[in-house]
Every structure is written in C-alpha cells, then in structure tokens.
C-alpha cells in the first residue's frame, strides 16, 4: 500500500480503476453511462453533407473541367498500352529491369509479365499500368514541388508537415467519396486519389534529402561562386539524389496501392476490379490468380525503383562508347521496329491469342472447396475457439458471452464472485512479487475489461483510461489532444463504432506484436530464420492490402475473425523487423558483460537484451498499430461493424458526411496511438541514454 502512495502514476491509475469500477457498478441504473446519449450528438454529419452539396453546386463545374482534362492523357496512355504489341511492352519492362538491377530482376519481370498474359489479365494489367504511369510522374512532380517549398520556407514547412500526417492517417476509402462527388466517376477518381495518397512520401523524402546535404558541400559551392539556381540544381539536388529517389520508390508503391483500392468504385476495368468482382462472386480461384498479378506488379515496381534509388551509377559511364552507353535504349528501339514489322505477319505477336491463355482457376477452386469441406471441423474449431473464448468476451464481456451455446454453461452470480476472487488473488500475488503496484493494477484493469467487455464499457471510464494513458506516456499536451479527439468521437455519434474499431484492431495488434516480436527475437538469434523470413516480409509489405485478404476469406469466410487474421498477416511484419533490428543493434559490451557475469541464454535475453531493446521494439508496436489501422479499413470488405465499415458505407451510399466523419475518427485513433507509442519510446530511450 505504501508503494502505491509513493508512485504517482500508480496512484492516478488506481484512481482511474476505481472510477471505472464505479461507472460499471452504476451503469445498470444509469443507462447514459453505458451508451452515450443520442440527444448529445451534434448534427455534424448532415451539416457536412450540406456544405458539400453547396460546394459541389458552386464549384462542381471547375472540378469537372479538371476531370475532363485529366481524362485525356489517361485515355491516351491506356489506348497506347493496349495498342502496343505485348512482346514490345514486355521487352521494354525487361530492359528497364535489367538497366536497374541486372539479369535476375529482368528474368523476374519477364516471368511476371508472361504470367499476366498467360492468365488472361493482360488488358486489365495494362489499364492499371496506364493509371500508374500517369499518377506516378504527377505525384513525384507535386511532391517534389511541395518538398522544395517546405525546404525553402520554414513557415510552409510548419503547415505542410502536419497536413501530410493527417493525409496519411485518414483511411484511403475516405478520400474516395469527396473525390467522387467532385470529379464524377471514372478513371480520374483513381488518379486523383492515388495522387493525394502518393505524393506525401515524396515531400518527406525531398525535404529530408535537401536538409541532410552537408553544409560544407553547400559552402564549397557558394565559394565557387554558384548562383542560387546553380546551388540548388547542381549542388543540393544531386547531393540529395539518393533520398529523393527513395521518395520516388515509396511514391510509386503508394500510387499503385491506391490505384488498386480505387478500383473498389469500379468502372476502370483494371486488375483491382478483377480481384474485387471475383471476390464478391466468391470465385476465389480467379481472385487469387488476379491477386497474384497485383503482387507481381508491386514486387517488380518496388525492386526496379529501389534499385534505381540505391544503385551506384557508374561515374565513368560518360567515357564509354556511344553504343554501350545507350545499349538499353538502342535495344528497345530495335525491339520496337522488329515487333512492329513481325506483328504484321504474325497476329499472335500483336495481341496475346485467346487459346494461349491457361486458366487454372477451376482446380484452385476445387482445392479450396476440398479444404473447406474436409477440414471443416478443424477450421470451425479454430474460428470458434478464438471467437468464443477471446474475441467475444473482450467485445461484450463475460456475462453476455458465457452462454450454454458458447461455453457450455450460464454465467451466474457465483461465477462472477469466483472471477472477482481470482482477479484479486492475481493482483495480490503481483503485489507480493515486490515489483511495485503497477502489475497488480494492470491485472485488475484487464480483469475488469474482460468482465464488462469493450462495447459495454461505460464511455466516461474509457475516456478516463485513454486520457490517462496519453498523460502517462506523453504528458499534459498529449492528454489534452487525446481528450479533444475523443470528444470528436463522442459528439459526432461514432463512439460505438470507434470502440469496436479499437477492440478489433487492439486484438489484432496484440497478436501481431506478440507473434512478430517472438519471430523477430528468433530471427535475431538464428541467421537461417532471418533469411527465411526476409523475403516473406518483403512480399507482404509490398503487397497491396486487399490481396492479403483473398486466401484468408477463402478458408475462414466473412466475419470479425477473418478481419483479425488479415490484419495480423499484414501488421506482424513491422513487429518482426523492429524486434530483429533492435536486438541486432544492441551495444556489444553490455552483452559481453552479461555473458561474463554468467548469464544463461534465457537470462541474457530476458534481463539484458530485451529491456534495452524494448524502446526500439515499441517503435515496432507503433508501426504495427499503424499497419493494423490501415488494414482495418480494407477489412470492412469482409463485413466488420466498426469505423472502417462506416467509411465503406459512406462510400457506397454516397453519404459524404458519414464517410468523412468515420474517416477522421480513424485518423484520430491512429494519431493518438502513434503519439503515445512514439513519446513513450522516446522518453524511455532518453532515460536509457540510448539517444
């Protein structure tokens, strides 16, 4: 008890716990404690809708004109790509891959494109590429422009940077609707959306690159008498080239993933639509085949731009003879002429013949059906086990989830008393271990959460918990910010959805972080594990989000459990990466000192390595949360009932207010979680003297 009073944080948490318990106890008699009263919801959604209607009515014509103008180049490129004979397009891509990173990548690119053609997705793939081909240069240009502006003017930087934060945390679907309302249907929506989503990384990398140019290099330029423009184009930009090219890489990947997501509104006939429409028809063989096309495009683009960004350019290139210097270009030109001529003779070279197409979708569908039918019991066991014993109690509490149907008995008062005794005993045991009052408080808090459930937890108590969490990680300012965010969630009436989002994402993040950290620790100690995991991580990270969904829906069908699995599949990657890198970059002497003192392997891991690596691992948790939230929106496709679903509903109903409010709600959750984990990690690193 005395320890409780010595520890200020523990004291406040104890207060929050008592307050929560009190709210729970009272909520039976006071219904407004359980669910936020509707009468206190501000009519934000209709007001936003009115504003939008007014805005579209007033300026709609301007946007439609822009749309008309932008549609032309898209249509042009699209028709060009469709007209070009496939051997030429394929050849050019292979040549580019070779120029970027040599034969292995060229072979991969060639194989990937052959797959597209052979599976009969050539046309769809070209439509996607057309959109990407316009959106990437545009995003790069816009991003570079803003980047330079932010670099030159501190005032501009102060506005641009937080705006970027917001743009990247608001879920992608939320963008689509206002764009749809303003620009009308069609490929232009995909272009604008991917432009908005893809230019921020370019801005960031441009600013970072320019700021990192060593002052001595700039000074040497000034001393040589460079003018302002010369200084910029001939000194700063070349010095920052590597970072800027990394920006191009990230922008390309973002543009591609948004083009795919944008296909959700359809009408563009691209590869994303091929995945989505087949998924809706539940013909998963086809959607898997099309999904693999997306994965291949993503991997090839990533490797190619990455190689261009990081590859050493040969300083002696200019001294080589003309033919060698321009070998790739000349080869492409020769290929063009050859294919053009040959295509006149052999039509199979102009368009991929129908009977060359193979379609293994049927065997895949059969195999899936076989798995689902024959492993039904096991699949159900996993699904029900996770759902009944973990997800449902956390969602609605033990009282409502423990039913004869689920657990085999009814939850009675006696059970409740037994549960309370167990929780108290756990807390007492924690206290006796002499680690201070915090673990005991954590045990009680978790016990209360499972008893009541996220969805039934009184909202004033949840607000208190989140604000205190913000305060103890990031201080008063973060607490105020979080409070403001939560107020938005309450006042706009999306609190219930938000809590469900936190619940779903929370479970998935917990699993991802535990799993990922374990794998990361293993990989840090075993080179073979590391080598095995790396390509899997790379692939999962470059894969556009909803491709990941396909195999999981195939087996587990729709529902919350599928959503959790999909998030875990995606969000585990950063946890693995950060854990491995944190453990690998520990100071050598500390480990040596531990060994010399006679640590066993486990003691070394638990008492030396993990405590020191924890702050960096927490950055992994931060990334896990961010990945989880971005996947959450995509999982709305499998029928979850949270904010992501609201965004999706807003989009499909054309209800701007609903979609944008839910979108901002998700951004609030994302940003609060981001700031909390960041500031915890930062203060902990400072404390450990690791900065």
């Amino acid at each position: 008890m005395t320890a409780l009073f010595a520890d200020r944080h523990a004291r406040i948490w104890a207060g929050v716990l008592v307050f929560s318990a009190l709210c729970v106890a009272l909520s039976g008699g006071l219904p407004w404690l359980k669910s936020y009263p509707d009468s206190l919801v501000l009519p934000v959604t209709p007001i936003l809708n009115d504003i939008m209607t007014w805005f579209v009515g007033l300026f709609g014509w301007a946007f439609r004109d822009i749309s008309f103008v932008l549609a032309m180049p898209i249509e042009g490129v699209r028709q060009l790509l469709q007209w070009l004979p496939w051997p030429f397009t394929m050849g050019v891509c292979v040549i580019v891959a070779h120029a970027a990173a040599g034969w292995r990548l060229a072979a991969f690119t060639g194989a990937a494109m052959l797959y597209m053609a052979a599976m009969g997705y050539w046309v769809e793939s070209m439509n996607t590429l057309a959109l990407v081909a316009i959106s990437v240069p545009l995003s790069v240009l816009v991003g570079f422009g803003f980047g330079v502006w932010a670099f030159v003017s501190r005032r501009a930087e102060r506005i641009i940077m937080p705006a970027l934060d917001l743009m990247q945390t608001v879920p992608t679907f939320a963008y689509l609707l206002p764009i749809l309302l303003l620009f009308g249907f069609g490929a232009v929506v995909g272009l604008i959306a991917s432009l908005l989503f893809a230019f921020p990384p370019m801005v960031r990398n441009t600013v970072l690159g320019l700021q990192r140019v060593s002052p001595e290099v700039v000074e040497s330029g000034t001393m040589s008498g460079a003018t302002g423009a010369q200084l910029f184009w001939q000194i700063r930009v070349p010095s920052a080239k590597r970072q800027i090219m990394l920006g191009v890489n990230q922008t390309t990947m973002a543009a591609l993933s948004m083009v795919i997501v944008a296909s959700i509104i359809g009408g563009t006939g691209d590869i994303g639509w091929a995945v989505l429409s087949t998924m809706r028809k539940a013909v998963f063989g086809e959607s898997l085949l099309a999904g693999i096309v997306i994965a291949f495009i993503a991997m090839a683009m990533d490797r190619i731009t990455w190689a261009f960004a990081t590859g050493e350019s040969n300083p002696h290139a200019a001294e080589r003879p003309f033919m060698r210097r321009h070998a790739h270009l000349l080869l492409a030109a020769a290929l063009f002429l050859a294919v053009l001529v040959l295509a006149q003779v052999e039509p199979a070279l102009a368009t991929w013949p129908r009977d060359w197409t193979i379609n293994p979708a049927k065997p895949i569908n059969d195999a899936i059906t076989w798995v689902v039918v024959n492993l039904k019991t096991q699949i159900e066991l996993i699904k029900r086990g996770a759902f009944f014993y973990l997800m449902l109690p956390l969602r609605v509490g033990l009282e409502q989830s423990v039913r004869p149907m689920t657990w085999g008995f009814t939850f009675t008062g006696a059970h409740a008393i037994g549960y309370a005794v167990l929780a108290l005993a756990g807390a007492a045991w924690m206290l006796l271990r002499g680690k201070g009052p915090r673990p005991a408080l954590a045990v009680l808090g978790i016990a209360l959460l499972f008893f009541v459930g996220m969805a039934n937890f009184p909202w004033p108590a949840l607000v208190a918990v989140f604000v205190t969490l913000a305060w103890s990680t990031g201080g008063t300012r973060l607490a105020i910010g979080t409070l403001a965010g939560l107020a938005f969630l309450l006042l706009t009436g999306i609190w219930t959805y938000a809590v469900l989002s936190i619940y779903l994402c929370g479970i998935a993040v917990l699993i991802s972080f535990t799993l990922g950290t374990t794998l990361g620790i293993w990989a840090a100690h075993d080179k073979r594990v590391s080598a095995f995991l790396r390509p899997i991580n790379d692939t999962l990270q470059t894969m556009p989000l909803f491709v990941i969904l396909i195999p999981i829906i195939m087996i587990f069908k729709l529902g919350d459990f599928t959503a959790v699995l999909a998030i875990v599949a995606y969000a585990t990657v950063p946890a693995i990466r950060y854990a491995e890198s944190a453990l690998r970059s520990l100071p050598e002497t500390v480990i040596e000192a531990g060994t010399a003192m006679g640590c066993t392997r486990w003691q070394l891991l638990w008492q030396v390595k993990l405590p020191i690596a924890l702050p960096e691992m927490m950055l992994g948790l931060n990334q896990t949360i961010m990945y989880g939230i971005s996947m959450l929106v995509i999982t709305a496709l499998v029928g979850t009932t949270e904010l992501g679903q609201r965004v999706y509903v807003g989009l499909s109903d054309g209800d701007f207010g609903v979609g944008i409010v839910a979108g901002i709600g998700m951004a609030i959750i994302a940003m609060s979680a981001d700031r909390m984990t960041q500031s915890w990690s930062a203060s902990r690193r400072k404390q450990l003297g690791l900065v």
Binding site: T589, M597, C599, I612, L688, G689
Partner: protein, 361 residues
C-alpha cells in the same frame, strides 16, 4: 638477481590461471590447418600460412601464467590481440587451440553449465566501455550478478551496498548509468565485478575511456583496493606507463604473439628486442626501478642510516639519499637486510639500464 626476487608475488607463486599455447584464429575453417603438429613445432610458420590463407590470427601460441594474488598486465597496441586473450580466459572468445588451466582444470573442456557457474562465482570482469545495464540503477547494476545466481533480494542488495561503499559511490545508489560521469560509471563497473567476490579479476582497458586526470586517480584507487583484496588479476592496457605503474609482472603482445614477459624493471632494463625497447626508451628509470634493483649487496650502511623497503621506487629514494649521502639500508621480505643504496650504486644501476635499453638494433 634482485629483480626476480621482486617479481615473486606475496603468497609464494601458486599458479591461478594459466594459458598454454593458446591460438585464436578467425576465418572460414582454421581448424583444418591445425591437423599436424605444426602448432607445436613451428608456430611462426603456421601463423604465416594461416595469414596467407586469408585468416586473421588474433592470438598466436600464447602462453603465460598468472599467479595467485598478483597483478598480471597484458600490454599491447590496438590489434595486438590483448583483448582477445583476456576473453579467451573466460571463453567469451572460444580459443581455436591450446589449453586454459584454471586451478589446474582445463577450462576449454568444461561443459557450458559449469562454465556459467565458474563465470558466476570465480570471475569478475571490468570493461573498457563499462558495459552497464542502462535500465537498472547503480544498486541493481551492482546486484545484477548476484541476481543471476539467485541470491535473495535483501541479501544481494546488502552485498551490493558493501562494494558500492568500497568504490566510494555511496549516495548514488538510485542513479542510472546515464546520469553518471565516466569515472563514476567505471566505479559501478568495478563494484559490479567485485560483487560476487571473485578470485579472478579481469580488467579490459578499464581506464582507457577516462580523462587522464581521472585515470591517474582510478589507478591509485585500484592499487589500494588490490592491497585489501589480493585478487588474481589480469589487466589489459595499451598504455605502457599505466602497465609499469600497476603491474607485478607484465606481458607485451604484438601481432597476436607475446614478445616478452617479466617484471616492469626487467622489461625496462632488459628489453627483449627493439620493439620493446621502443616503449622503454622514453621511460624515466626512476619511476620503474626500485631500491632492490640498484642496491649494493656488499655495502654495509651505518647503524643510523634510514631503512627503506626494497620495493620503493627510486623517485622515493632520491630525496632520502640527498640527505644521507652514506647510503640507505634496504630491507626485503620480513625486514631482512639486503644491502644499501648509495649514490654510486644508483648511478651504476641507471647506466646499466641505459646500455641495456639500447640494444644493437
């Protein structure tokens, strides 16, 4: 000769830990080249062949004994293999070939479990960059090795407190390593290495990361501690003067091999080759030589002549000698009279040292 007598440590020279023909070779498969008896018959040739095959030879046929209660210093420049050697002694680095005998038992054949036990109870180590755990405060850092052994909380805190007081850090128990100066951090490191009351004490360049003034002060305190504790010490340094100040005996390493082993005076007076001589040539003799090194055994000082211990440095002898020109009586173990230091004997000693220090290289 007087110097050998002086090289003998207090408790008669029982050997605590001993290195026998230890090799450490980094590379793809160095073991393959140890098949024949080349390691025994022609170590230099083997080292050359290993290097030609692209291996890195960090320790090459190293042998030395550390006697109980003595301070054995291994001195060498960076890359000479001295840090590798001290790590071989605790198997932080696994030797490629050779034997490490701790109290006569070969450490290299000891199973992992026993090795951990030996590290826990018999060895303490101090690191150049301290190696403190940043997430624990001073008290818990020092108590950490005891925690590993499973010593109960109250007892380990009490024992940790004792060593913290010993290194004069009392009052800073609650501070975290990041809040301490370099010198204070190393005191924590020293306290931690002493907490388990080890018999063997390894110090790997313990003072190299500290400012010169602090370094000097820490050396003095280290010597004072050793006078109380009588540990068997292996002390690594790249600083020749530090080695001279601290060592009972010292080894000089170069390119993984030991060039010379002896007491500081032996090294200064009789450097084995020009490499050692380069270190010794600039060393003021008065800081290395002791009264016993320059005494005249035949001289019989007067009854009123002051007496001085044979281990006193010449720089302490000078002022006395200036006042007592007849000479000073020098005593050895148990107060036995060894002879006398006179102005002539000092000059003779210094001259001998100088000619010896400049071999015909």
């Amino acid at each position: 000769m007087a110097v050998t007598a002086e090289g003998t440590p207090p408790d008669g020279g029982k050997i605590k830990i001993s290195c026998r023909n230890v090799w450490k070779v980094y590379g793809d498969n160095p073991q393959a080249m140890f098949g024949d008896d080349a390691a025994a018959t022609d170590p230099a040739g083997l080292a050359r062949r290993l290097r030609e095959a692209g291996h890195i030879v960090a320790a090459c046929d190293v042998s030395f004994d550390v006697r109980a209660g003595e301070i054995f210093v291994i001195m060498g420049l960076s890359g000479s293999g001295k840090s590798t050697m001290v790590r071989c002694l605790s198997r932080l680095v696994e030797p490629t070939a050779g034997e490490i005998l701790l109290d006569g038992r070969d450490l290299l054949t000891v199973p992992d479990k026993d090795l951990i036990d030996i590290r826990r109870h018999k060895m303490g180590m101090v690191f150049q960059n301290f190696g403190l755990l940043p997430h624990l405060n001073v008290l818990d850092n020092v108590a950490f090795p005891l925690k590993l052994q499973g010593v109960p909380l109250a007892e380990r805190r009490a024992r940790a407190q004792r060593v913290i007081d010993l290194v004069e850090l009392g009052g800073r128990e609650a501070a975290f390593p990041g809040e301490l100066s370099g010198g204070q951090q190393q005191r924590v490191g020293i306290a931690r290495s002493l907490a388990v009351e080890p018999e063997l004490w390894f110090l790997d360049e313990p003072f190299s990361a500290l400012d010169p003034l602090i370094r000097r002060q820490m050396q003095d305190e280290f010597l004072k501690l050793q006078q109380m504790l009588h540990k068997s010490i292996v002390f690594i340094t790249h600083d020749f003067l530090e080695a001279l100040r601290i060592a009972d005996r010292m080894a000089i390493m170069r390119e993984g091999a030991i060039v010379q082993i002896g007491s500081p005076a032996e090294l200064v007076l009789h450097p084995a080759d020009s490499y050692v001589a380069e270190f010794t040539s600039e060393v003021p003799r008065s800081r290395v030589l002791r009264a016993a090194d320059v005494l005249d055994p035949a001289a019989r000082p007067g009854a009123d002549a002051p007496r001085i211990d044979g281990r006193a440095r010449l720089q302490e002898v000078y002022p006395l000698l200036a006042r007592h020109t007849d000479g000073i009586a020098v005593t050895g173990e148990g107060g036995k009279l060894l002879g006398a230091v006179t102005a002539t004997s000092v000059i003779r000693g210094l001259a001998a040292g100088d000619t010896a220090a400049k071999p015909a290289a």
